[in-house]
Structure formats: structure tokens, C-alpha cells
Subunit: 288 residues, 2 copies
């Protein structure tokens, strides 16, 4: 799907790193996006020679200073020369500082949130999880924006009415588990307002009820979202990050992730991600 | 290992249910434990006839009333006639009320906690997770008891010095993520007191660092627990339950679970658990 999108270009900040350049070369080779590598050009040449990469497939912008490279990559996005921003070999806080700069950054009046995409071996479709990486303990308004950001992203990949499951430890409101009441309240708001449009939101769900029709039948749960969720919304960053790492490290589900909510998607891959995961993240940024 | 334990007997409360009786029959057949089925004997006979089960392999105690059956099964444990308690077709609150009765129950002066055991396809050994089911938002003292209960249980299966990873969303203390500081504090307490004995406790860890040596190397983490954890301690019931359901429903890892901290283990299987999971839980109760 990503290969069919036209005029897609990713600007990589501080790109002088073997694993970043390999992912970028693969994205170009597959026709997913053009890649502009912003960073230390001499160092990139050394890496290309050592790793057998052809620099000619990229556009190179020489900027040896890491923070200046972040600012330059952001400006390429703001000017419309790139359609997504990608972190290279620089810490997350530097690139986010450049991306969120009030004058020259990519802010779009919305909260940022992270969307992770998985292809779990025992599920019948892609599963998106948010937010596993950016918002620590989101308040209700932020929870709504996390949902809206994710629904909006899925609209861009042809999932017109995503099914959104609000995850807790239980599928009913329990007065000793505050998040269960919060989720029930957001479902009421979804049903009675124009917040969280273009999707079906339901919950609270325990994870099994969100992904297993059989588990729903046993519990007597009758919801269009039950057993068929596209999106899992987690209560907080701990639950989200643990789910993310469980699916990627203990399940080895194919996965990628993108930050949305700014003018354009931001790819925050890290060295610990596999090459495949980096490539999937680039593809997601093109699609979203 | 469970088959080698002698004089093991599980008392099942409200046992008149096909799935419970099948798991019990399998435990007897494999020589894991003797099973005392407390419940409606006439109904059990009907189920045995319908499902082709031989009631003669069980000891049957006729008690048609569910709560009375719970009390009777608990009394069998308290009197030493059974070495574990198992929930049959009765709600969790009823059996726990009987088990925790101050006069006739199984209290042992400790907090109860749930231990889940997994055999994840992409991990080199068993992985135990606590607490995914009982303690909702444990305070620090309860967190310590959760760790001690789990370490004590693992000592009973020959894991003499379990490696305990305290899970958060990050592997360093972050002032915006309170659980990371809490875990660092408990590690200090572990190193400087006699709390959490007989184990190695470290953290905070993100899940990848707890289960992947490679992820540790990339992050520069040098800990004996890193990449080799036996026990994962989760921040709260949401993170725990989501991890539990992810491993059992999206990863299909073999799993079982037991409640510890009372005089004897308590098995709280539900209809949604697989037959294999129920059998593993019985085996764990015998071992713990």
C-alpha cells in the first residue's frame, strides 16, 4: 500500500549511522519513499563504503552537528519538501525539541501520540496499540486525543470505521478499578457527542475479550468490537510499553511505530528495533 | 516434577461442571494429585455419564449448595486432608470469602497474590509474572509481599535464586514515571535489608531488557537479571492483566496460574482458560 503512494519523502535527522542508512536504502529500493539524509556527509560516505551502500539513491544534506541536523530535517518537512520526519542516530529529546519548536516546528494544535502496529501470529488482522511511548499517564482529554489520532491514522489506510477497544483488567465497571469507570464514561461520550468520530468505541475490555470472540461468548459479551478490535487503547504507558515489548520480544510479532498528531508523522526508531521494524515504521509514516 | 510429589490432594469447591471435572480427571490420570470433588453429587453423576468420565477416580463429597461447598472444601484444606483449594463452577468472590474467613479460613498472616507461569515460544525458560489478578494498585509493602510470595513459590520448584525484574516503561529512573523511582527504591531495600531474600532483584526494567540480552547490550545494561529474568513484577493489575492476556491469547504461550500467600495454594481457573491451562494450574498448586 505504501509503495502506491506518490510523492513521499522522509527526512532523516542525524542519518550517519549504519542501521539507519540500511533501512533508508531498503525503503528506496522498495519504492516506499524518497529519503533525504541530513547529517555528517563525510561520515555517511565512510559508512556507505564500509557497508556497500550506494549514496546516490539518497539526497544528502551535509550538517555534521546533530541538533542542527534535527532542525534542518524539521524545516524540510515544514517547507513541504519531506512528508515525514525520521530520527537517526540522535537522542529522542533532541529531535522532539526541534519538531516541537513553537516557531519553526511541526506543531498542529493537537497532542502527539504514538501508534504501534502489530501483526500477531494468532490474530486475524493488524492490531494497532496506543499509546505505548509518549503519553505517560494521560488525562481524559489526552485519552480522547490519543483515540482520535489513531482513528484518523487508520482512516488513511482504508480502515473506514476502526473498532476501538479500551483496555483494562476487567470487562465491567469495577468501583475498585478507576480506569474501568473512565472507559465507560468515554464510551458514553462517544455515543452522545462528536468526539471520537468515525469509529466504534467500546469498553472496558480485558484484552482477551478485545481479541477473542470465544472469550466474549464465554463472558456473555455482545459488542461489535469484542474479538475484532483494530485498535487497543491502553490505560497508561506502563501497560502500553509492556504490551508493546511482549508482542515484539516474546511473540516476535512483526511491528512498527509512528508518532502522529504533528503536521506530519515522526518515526522514532531505536537501535534495538529490527531492520524489518524500521522499514515497517517508514511505510506507516508514508501511509499515515 | 508435580507427579513426583507425594500426598498431594486438591479439594475442588462446586465441582459439578464438565470442564472442571475433565481437568480433575486428567490430573488424576497423570498422577499429579488426588482430587476431592465437593459439590452436587447427583449433578456430577449426570455430567460423568454424559462426558464418559469415571467418578470412581475421585473422592466425592455431596454438597449441593455452592457456598457450603466452598466452606467444606476450605475446611478439608485447613484439616490437612487436602493440600490445595480449587475453584469449580462458583464465582471467585464466594470461594475467596470462604478461604479468607477469619475463623475457619486459610489465612496465613500474609497478603495473597497471584502468580502466572508462562512458557513463551521465544524465551529460554519459564517466565513467572505477578500480580496479574488479585492486587489492583499495590502499595510498596504489598509490592514487597508480592515479590516474596513469588520467590518463595519458585524455591519450591528448584529455582533457588530467582532473578526478579521490576517492570516499568523504562530501564532508568525517570522523574515523570513514579514507578521507576519506586522500583529503584525497592532494589536499594533488597540490597540493604532482609526483605526480598533468596533472590536477585533488579530494576526498573523495560520488558525487553528483562528478557533479551541483546536489548541489554544495546542499552548498555549490565545486570545479572537483564535478559534472564525468572520473575516479572508488574506495576499494577492493568499492566499485569494485559501482559497475561497478551501471552495467553495473542502468543498462545502455555500458561497456568495460582494464588499464593494463604496456608495452601488456591487455583482460580475460569471457563475461558484452556483445559491445558487448568491442568498446569493444578500442577503448579501441587509444586507450590
Amino acid at each position: 500500500m505504501a509503495r502506491k503512494r506518490e510523492n513521499t519523502t522522509v527526512a532523516v535527522a542525524a542519518a550517519a549511522s549504519g542501521y539507519v542508512m540500511k533501512a533508508a536504502a531498503e525503503a528506496v529500493r522498495l519504492g516506499i519513499a524518497k529519503m533525504i539524509l541530513v547529517g555528517d556527509a563525510a561520515r555517511m560516505q565512510e559508512i556507505a563504503t564500509a557497508d556497500g551502500l550506494d549514496l546516490a539513491v539518497f539526497e544528502i544534506v551535509d550538517e555534521p552537528d546533530n541538533y542542527a541536523a534535527c532542525r534542518k530535517a524539521v524545516s524540510l518537512v515544514v517547507e513541504g519538501k519531506a512528508t515525514a520526519l525520521m530520527k537517526g542516530d540522535v537522542d529522542t529529546s533532541s529531535i522532539m525539541r526541534a519538531a516541537l519548536d513553537r516557531e519553526n516546528g511541526m506543531r498542529d494544535g493537537k497532542k502527539l501520540s504514538h501508534i504501534a502496529a502489530f501483526e500477531p501470529p494468532h490474530y486475524h488482522k493488524l492490531l494497532f496499540v496506543s499509546d505505548c511511548a509518549i503519553n505517560i499517564a494521560p488525562d481524559n482529554d489526552t485519552k480522547i486525543e490519543i483515540i482520535e489520532n489513531c482513528v484518523n491514522a487508520l482512516h488513511h489506510i482504508g480502515i473506514d470505521v476502526p473498532k476501538v477497544a479500551l483496555l483494562a483488567a476487567k470487562e465491567v465497571v469495577d468501583e475498585k478499578m478507576p480506569i474501568t469507570a473512565t472507559w465507560a464514561g468515554l464510551v458514553t461520550l462517544h455515543n452522545s457527542s462528536d468526539r471520537m468520530n468515525g469509529c466504534i468505541v467500546d469498553g472496558p475490555f480485558a484484552l482477551d475479550n478485545a481479541v477473542s470472540k470465544e472469550a466474549c461468548e464465554i463472558k456473555g459479551i455482545n459488542s461489535p468490537v469484542g474479538g475484532d478490535a483494530d485498535i487497543l487503547i491502553v490505560p497508561d504507558i506502563e501497560a502500553g510499553n509492556i504490551l508493546y515489548k511482549s508482542l515484539s520480544f516474546l511473540t516476535k510479532a512483526k511491528n512498527g511505530g509512528v508518532v502522529v498528531g504533528a503536521k506530519r508523522p515522526i518515526i522514532l526508531t531505536s537501535r534495538a528495533d529490527t531492520a524489518e521494524s524500521k522499514l515497517i515504521s517508514i511505510a506507516l509514516s508514508v501511509l499515515f
